[in-house]
């Protein structure tokens, strides 16, 4: 028997005998499903009033349902006999891309769904990119695809100075030596990714800065000033929770559209709507004092309020 989530979700008491008996009954009940599926496919092929597109859609849905049924049957037999699964676990018969979310809420049953990743500006909360992967991959696997997306957005900027990513901050979960190495090779500081649970130093000494630059191999690429800002950004990392809260308030916490494609559209539209609200706040200078200071240090200009309704479009 395999449990989900943290130990605080309960004692995990499972009535093994009852589950095994019920499973036997359900498997016996579902025995003729493959036969029914084949019959349904045959009848579908001979149904004339349906158009080609409808035929294709229905037959695809039927094939997916049949393959999922087979997978669920196998995983049920393995799990009830105490064996581990060789591959992923299907938790929803209609959508195999859904997975149990290990980092979900505590004190509640394990949530099933997806785990979108975001990359944001700590000063204002503007989201540069998001990622909705299939299943529940590890946190470090989000970083490089997200950085690539930000890079593609930077390449679209044609005016002003060349923008570069100086540093990345994140939680302890993305602390991975391979990832750090990959980021250093791209000229990105990783001082904002903690190695221990201890908070990051906000004002590092000159020696600390030198050590950070030497460790990353970015001595002539990044300046001490940029390391200072990277440390401040890493220290302010928990501010990302407020960006997530803003997304959740716009309905990002619950997938309402069907499948992975639907989740991508929903999360993407939510991110764009959130960004619109962030830009309004920047225009009105409704930012925290820390954010205002951070923007000043980054050399970002404050827009004139009267210019907000210019006819750009």
């Amino acid at each position: 028997m395999r449990g989900f989530g943290r130990s605080c979700r309960g004692h995990g008491q499972v009535f093994v005998k009852l589950v095994r008996q019920t499973e036997q009954q359900l498997l016996a009940l579902g025995e003729p499903i493959p036969t029914f599926g084949l019959q349904a496919q045959e009848r579908l092929a001979h149904t004339i009033p349906l158009s080609d597109a409808q035929h294709q859609r229905l037959s695809l849905a039927l094939t997916t349902a049949m393959s999922n049924h087979e997978h669920i049957r196998k995983q049920s037999q393995r799990l009830t006999s105490g064996k581990k699964l060789s591959h992923f676990k299907v938790v929803n018969a209609y959508d195999p891309t859904i997975a149990p979310i290990v980092k979900g809420k505590s004190n509640c049953p394990a949530q099933f769904g997806r785990k979108p990743g975001i990359v944001s500006d700590p000063a204002s909360g503007f989201l540069f990119a998001n990622l909705v992967p299939q299943g529940n991959p590890s946190d470090p696997s989000y970083v490089l695809p997200l950085i690539d997306k930000v890079q593609s957005a930077i390449e679209r900027v044609h005016t002003g100075p060349k923008r570069r990513i100086h540093s990345v901050a994140g939680e302890l979960g993305i602390n991975d030596p391979t990832l750090r190495q990959a980021l250093h090779e791209r000229g990105i500081l990783t001082v904002g990714i903690p190695k221990t649970i201890a908070p990051i130093e906000v004002h590092p000494s000159a020696q600390d800065i030198l050590d950070i630059l030497n460790e990353a191999g970015l001595n002539r690429i990044r300046t001490p000033y940029q390391v200072h800002l990277a440390c401040a950004s890493g220290y302010s990392r928990p501010v990302v929770e407020s960006h997530i809260a803003s997304l959740l308030s716009r309905g990002a916490g619950q997938g309402r559209y069907k499948g992975l494609e639907g989740a991508v559209v929903q999360q993407g539209m939510t991110v764009m709507a959130h960004n619109g609200a962030v830009l309004v706040r920047i225009h009105h200078k409704q930012l925290s004092k820390r954010a205002q200071k951070f923007r000043r240090l980054l050399g970002l200009r404050s827009p004139k309020v009267n210019e907000i309704n210019h006819q750009r479009n």
Binding site: K115, P116, A123, V150, I154, G160, G170, M269, N275, N313
Partner: protein, 182 residues
């Protein structure tokens, strides 16, 4: 019949054109929010993608609802937290929503751009894929960077859980679906 009933509001003559901007104050939250988007670039990206992936088969049929309207409705849906039906209804009565959708004049006429069925919004969503969605976000981010409002120099990365919502089947929804199929 349902379609005609939906539109009968618009089929009874025409009147003077009203300027939508006259009814939406400059400081209206939806107006301010809508003015932050680079609509022209976003619509161009959508049109290019749709033209490549879904070429028009025939020049016949009704004129399509402008992409600008559909995109704005989809974004507003997430900003205001409504359903497809609610946001489509608001498009017919709320001047701020009309402004966000790029409709600058209002007239009692059967122009296609002024009304959208929830099903149309659903079809529009279905045409958006991951690459296109990433492109739209990148366009928005690039515009904000060009204007000097945000900087990608220091970034924070995190993940959050998004539970899959279940559609509860009730007698009312089953009846609705049955009536629609009939």
């Amino acid at each position: 019949m349902r379609f005609v009933r939906y539109l009968q509001h618009w089929l009874s003559g025409t009147g003077a054109r009203l300027q939508v901007t006259d009814f939406v104050p400059v400081m209206h939250p939806i107006r301010q929010w809508a003015d932050t988007f680079p609509w022209a670039a976003l619509v161009r990206a959508l049109e290019q993608s749709f033209d490549t992936r879904f070429p028009t088969q025939s020049p016949r049929g009704r004129r399509p609802v402008p992409i600008r309207v559909l995109l704005a409705l989809e974004l507003l849906k997430h900003e205001l937290g409504g359903s497809d039906e609610e946001i489509c209804q608001r498009l017919r009565t709320d001047f701020a929503v009309m402004y966000a959708c790029g409709l600058r004049e209002y007239q009692v006429n059967p122009a296609q751009a002024h009304f959208v069925l929830p099903e149309t919004l659903c079809e529009f969503r279905r045409r958006i894929d991951e690459a296109l969605m990433d492109e739209l976000i990148a366009i928005q981010a690039a515009t904000a960077m060009e204007e000097g409002l945000v900087s990608p120099a220091h970034l924070v990365i995190d993940t959050f859980p998004s539970e899959q919502g279940s559609q509860r089947v009730t007698d009312a929804t089953t009846l609705y679906k049955a009536q629609k199929k009939r």
